[in-house]
Symmetry: C2
């Protein structure tokens, strides 16, 4: 799995990257893969839950910015990655039954059936490309369980998971607000700026969901902003204990054929 | 029905306007009502079709910009107009069975049951307020059947209905593109600029769906632009001949509590 350097991975076309994933030649996380292409969170649910899940996404566009929804039973996200195979083209999956993690396979062929609907949800790694392109300086800290209530839909209800970024310069913070506003497909504008405690986050140095910067505390002059995180709908579906859900494993995203800038508004 | 002048109607709060509609005191079209508030197309379908209809909307955001989706059986669009009653608060409805128009009632209480899901879809009258606020000069001509294929979802498939506006000044046309881009809740950016024939419209002076300017042809110096029209999902659902669909009657929209500017992005 180390046969591809970050330089090689970052310059790959998504079609080529998905091919090496499909062939089992890349099993790692995707943060270095396919610079400037939109990456996606995956959530697959039975058709019986698809309406309520889609409604949850529609009602909570910041954590669950929808990139594509497949036809029931289809393995192909034809809007953002024609000919891709959602059963094999992510490096690692998670399979949940009734809310319990039962497997973490490299493909999900054996779990697939014609009753499943796949949702691809924007991942903020994609909009980080846009921030970097604009030379915005920031530190990504991690993701947290906030106390912001999502708007419920049917069985799906719960609190928003948010990702945090730290900015030393007000100018960079303003640019990040402007740039992320252009990218509703990747969570759009921040949901919160300032005191983490206001949204139920007690200690910024201890992310609940994942951390990229290990335990580095906020500096006195740093502005913190929070964006909706695509982990939210998975968390909510786990808590609803639906009979089956398949997701990507954390960090092992689906890489689409769409450029970040291609999907920007304005 | 003429007891309210355009001046009185335009200054009413949506709650008050919906109340006079509910009491049968206003039965006309809503184009003069509640200046600067978002108006909505209505489409109500049985729950069995709700997932595919929601998916159609999600896949075709320009004609079908979703403002709100009710819980199955609920009469209240709690996101955009809490306490409103979708059975009574529009001046006129249309009821279709298997694609055939069977009734044009002033309320739909007798057709209501707990199996129905209501969709409120942005109406470009709302973004016309934003154009007027920016002093953009234009002529609204009408709506047409185009040859632009919508992305299908289940039984819902067909061509996009578009609305046309004429601009004498390039500056005003550019401003209209910028301003409508800020309003994805009301169809967003145009789907076409220039030659109507390219999208299958043979004669601009003969709108298929409705016309506001009677037979006035395009002037040589006028730029024409087309936006997705919220009539599209109704047309598509009629053609799918679903067992029951309830819509607003043309021009008799639902007026929400949300200001146009409140819903703008950027």
């Amino acid at each position: 799995m180390n046969e591809y350097s970050p330089q090689v991975l970052s310059k790959m076309h998504p079609k080529d990257f998905r091919q090496i994933v499909r062939e089992g030649k890349w099993k790692g996380i995707t943060n270095e893969a396919c610079e400037n292409y939109v990456q996606a969170n995956l959530a697959i649910v039975p058709k019986a839950y698809a309406f309520e899940f889609l409604l949850f996404c529609q009602r909570n566009p910041q954590p669950t910015s929808l990139l594509d929804v497949t036809e029931p039973g289809s393995i192909e996200p034809f809007k953002v990655a024609p000919l891709a195979d959602l059963r094999t083209d992510l490096p690692k999956y998670r399979v949940y039954r009734n809310g319990d993690l039962i497997d973490e396979p490299a493909d999900v062929k054996k779990y697939w059936d014609n009753d499943l609907v796949a949702f691809l949800i924007g991942c903020s790694w994609s909009f980080d490309w846009a921030l970097k392109a604009a030379k915005v300086q920031f530190r990504m800290v991690g993701a947290y369980n906030s106390n912001i209530q999502c708007r419920p839909a049917g069985v799906f209800r719960g609190q928003m998971v948010v990702s945090a970024r730290l900015f030393e310069s007000s100018h960079d913070a303003m640019r990040a607000i402007q740039i992320s506003s252009r990218h509703p497909e990747c969570h759009g504008v921040p949901v919160h700026i300032g005191n983490p405690d206001t949204i139920g986050i007690k200690d910024l140095s201890k992310p609940d969901v994942f951390k990229l910067v290990n335990g580095i505390p906020q500096k006195a002059n740093e502005i913190v902003m929070f964006w909706g995180c695509g982990v939210t709908p998975q968390t909510v579906a786990m808590e609803a204990k639906i009979p089956l859900m398949i997701t990507h494993a954390p960090g092992h995203m689906f890489v689409t054929d769409r450029l970040v800038e291609e999907m920007a508004i304005l």
